[in-house]
């Protein structure tokens, strides 16, 4: 089992990461950050972008040290068989759990905003089915699908922003920096977890056709996502002010309030189009990484047989695990320390130990 049949280019990686950094996040991030940082939420997001770049660099550095291997293999190599497989398992579980949250968030959006009467099993089933269909065809197909759909989604978002622009009042962003740095930093905390999602490259980096040049796409994706979220949070704040914090899906209101000449009105269904496209790519990527990492962890030759059982688990857990939407929202906050320790802490730890024990070639040596 190797990545020979899976080759993605740097640009595809950048688009893929950009997509997962924006997809689930666009709807819930503004509310989470505004709750802490008030009007200065956009500053928090700028700060987070810098953190995101740093964590991305860290993850790339670790990945490049062990070319052709995933975190599952080199965590064993660095810390020994037993501890290494425990660490690998923790990453797998995190990927699975985040995916469960994303799927459930997806379902909650659909049920709250569009289809109150349709049972959520239908959505869980269809979403996971579509994701399974695509990842059985491999990472390359996922990347290409994203490559085709992402421009449309960006176009929709920018179009929505353009249409709502006349209704934005930027005075709602004032006062700037009223509470000092503390609220801004508090807002950074919940947002970091969304930007550290680049840690999936620890699994997919070997598929890159030129793994040595992973830095550029990762940084580009994080920066683009940072700008994107900043713009979007400014727009949401300029429309809703501090009410942003009260909404489950604040960006929806941006589209809901659109009204141009009495013809183009209430384009909230567009958000769904964006959400389905980007959300499915994100779910698919997590799904793929979970299956692949599990296969490597268990020493299987092929990951494809895992697609079906993992899918069933995803459907079941996403339905059963959260009793209601408020528990889901709480879980998103509660999981942050755990997630961050695996997304950023674990790579940092591994990198330090690897450097001390001299495991793996550093990127510079191999290139020379």
């Amino acid at each position: 089992m190797n990545f020979k049949d899976e080759q993605i280019s740097g640009r595809q990686l950048a688009l893929l990461l950009f997509c997962i950094l924006i997809s689930t996040t666009i709807l819930i991030l503004p509310a989470l950050v505004v709750r802490e940082a008030k009007q200065d939420a956009w500053m928090s997001i700028l700060v987070v972008t810098i953190l995101g770049i740093l964590s991305g660099l860290l993850q790339v550095r670790l990945g490049c040290r062990f070319p052709g291997k995933t975190i599952i293999e080199y965590s064993k190599e660095i810390t020994g068989r037993f501890l290494g497989s425990l660490l690998g398992l923790s990453s797998i579980l995190l990927m699975f759990y985040i995916n469960v949250i994303v799927i459930r968030e997806f379902i909650e959006l659909l049920k709250t905003e569009y289809f109150p009467e349709t049972p959520m099993e239908v959505f869980a089933f269809t979403i996971v089915l579509a994701a399974a269909y695509i990842i059985r065809r491999g990472l390359e197909v996922l990347c290409r699908t994203n490559e085709i759909l992402l421009p449309f989604e960006i176009f929709f978002i920018l179009g929505g922003l353009l249409l709502i622009f006349k209704d934005l009042e930027f005075s709602r962003l004032l006062p700037v920096f009223a509470g000092g740095a503390i609220p801004v930093l508090k807002g950074v905390y919940p947002a970091t977890v969304f930007f550290a999602e680049t840690y999936l490259i620890l699994v997919i980096l070997p598929a890159l056709n030129n793994p040595r040049e992973a830095t550029r796409p990762v940084v580009a994706a994080v920066v683009a996502a940072g700008i994107f979220h900043t713009v979007l949070s400014i727009a949401v704040l300029a429309l809703l002010g501090l009410e942003t914090a009260d909404r489950y899906f604040s960006v929806i209101d941006l589209f809901r309030y659109i009204s141009v000449a009495g013809i183009i009105e209430r384009q909230e269904a567009l958000v769904m189009a964006i959400w389905v496209g980007t959300g499915l790519v994100k779910i698919g990527l997590y799904y793929y990484c979970t299956c692949l990492a599990t296969a490597r962890w268990a020493g299987l030759r092929d990951w494809r047989p895992l697609v079906f059982p993992t899918g069933v688990l995803l459907v079941l857990v996403s339905i059963v695990h959260f009793p209601d939407i408020s528990v889901l929202q709480e879980t998103i906050i509660k999981i942050i320390p755990m997630a961050l320790s695996i997304q950023i802490g674990l790579p940092l730890l591994l990198l330090i130990i690897a450097a001390f024990r001299g495991k793996g070639g550093s990127a510079g040596e191999k290139a020379a």
Binding site: Y114, P116, E117, P119, L174, D253, Y257, E265, R266
Partner: protein, 407 residues
């Protein structure tokens, strides 16, 4: 692979056939609400809702026949304990489930407004269907029910007519345009007070109130005795979620001057040099700023208003196309604006309602001082020092330089 596919296909078909499409609802199964009135019911604590529901079939058929004037909406009234319960109670009268997605008008009865609206407004933000762009009105002097009934009888598209009325009011600027989102924002604010246009019912033959323009009562009233019409008249002022009083036409315009929300408006002044005749000035551009300033340890609000207008009409024979005359007109224009804003401020102090959003302005400029001020805003607001700086300009005088009349 093929086996799996066919299995899935079968599963999908069985799912669709057995479970059906849950949220699928045909257009004709939805009652398209175009206007909603909220009132207190006779029973204590109950809510009375009146909705105007479009009868789409008649709208369509009428277009072909031409000349047939029929009411194209039906109105229903229902009562209940909460808004949503009442909404469903309509199903006892009409088979169609109400659909709020196209409701543009939300009319609150005066009695309900005076009691407070928090308890009834929640549903319209929480729910998926209602639109944030619905206009909010307060029915002045009547129940909202009567207004909705009148709306239902309107000719060219019930609901749309009210929508057009409030939209076209920008050329007159005597009432604020308030949609649900803006209303909610003000209700959510601790200090700023909500304002809502007042909607009044004119019964045929009745005299309109004194502040109205002469001649606007129209010929229709005389011709058809039973016809009732609606009129935007002034502004309702809320304190918290309760209606506390009204602003008349001039005061409403004062509010718009201060907020910079007037798009076009007519100011009538006496002609300089000929005090017995009048001139009309049409507002073209308005820029207003509310600037809090610190003077010592006091905070003073400066309201800066800049207007640009054209002379559009003149009575008498005075030559107004001279720089001196225009400067004089400008001063008179500024005085009118100033007086109207002063009147509004006076009313706002009287109601102790921060309808200008001075509090927010202070918060944005002086967040530190605001923390202390916020807690005692109710005492501070009536005492707040307010300075007015009005600068009016008149740029053009129209196509002729001299008025009509013998030279």
């Amino acid at each position: 692979m093929k086996k799996q596919l066919s299995l899935l296909l079968c599963a999908a078909i069985i799912l669709i056939v057995t479970a059906g499409c849950w949220d699928y609802r045909e257009l004709e199964q939805r009652g398209l609400v175009c206007c909603l009135g909220l009132d207190r019911a006779a029973e204590p604590g109950k809510i009375k809702m009146t909705v105007s529901v479009i009868r789409p079939g008649e709208v369509s058929s009428d277009t072909g026949a031409g000349g047939v004037v029929r009411s194209k909406a039906a109105y229903y009234t229902a009562t209940g304990d909460t808004v949503f319960e009442t909404t469903r109670n309509f199903l006892m009268q009409s088979s169609r489930r109400l659909f709020w997605g196209h409701n543009r008008n939300l009319i609150i009865g005066e009695a309900m407004a005076r009691e407070g609206v928090f308890n009834v407004i929640d549903r319209f933000v929480r729910g998926v269907e209602p639109r944030l762009r619905s206009w909010v009105f307060v029915a002045g002097g009547t129940e909202a029910k009567e207004i909705v009934e009148t709306v239902s009888k309107m000719e060219d598209g019930p609901g749309a007519e009210l929508d057009a009325l409030i939209k076209s009011s920008t050329s007159l600027s005597v009432v604020p345009q308030v949609d649900l989102k803006l209303f909610i924002e003000r209700l959510n604010s601790k200090t700023a007070a909500a304002v809502v246009p007042r909607l009044e019912l004119i019964r045929a033959g009745e005299k309109t109130d004194a502040g109205d323009y002469p001649g606007t009562s129209g010929p229709a009233g005389a011709a058809e005795p039973k016809r009732q019409r609606l009129k935007l008249s002034g502004t309702a002022v809320f304190k918290g979620d309760r209606l506390v009083g009204w602003l008349n036409k001039a005061e409403s315009r004062g509010l718009l001057w201060a907020l910079g929300k007037a798009q076009s408006s007519i100011v009538v002044v006496k002609c300089p040099g000929d005090e017995s005749s009048l001139a009309s000035l049409e507002l073209l551009e308005l820029i207003s700023k509310i600037k809090p300033e610190k003077r010592g340890n006091r905070i003073v609000i400066t309201v800066e208003v800049q207007t640009e207008s054209n002379l559009v009409e003149q009575q008498g024979t005075a030559d107004l196309a001279t720089p001196e005359a225009l400067r004089s007109l400008e001063r008179r224009h500024a005085t009118v604006v100033k007086n109207e804003i002063h009147a509004t401020v006076k009313k706002a102090r009287e109601y102790n309602a921060d309808i200008f959003g001075f509090g927010e302005a202070i918060e944005r400029k002086f967040p530190q001082e605001w923390k202390e001020l916020e807690s005692r805003w109710d005492e501070a607001f009536p005492e707040l020092e307010i300075e007015l700086k009005v600068k009016s300009r008149i740029l053009r005088v129209g196509r002729i330089t001299r008025p009509v009349g013998p030279r």
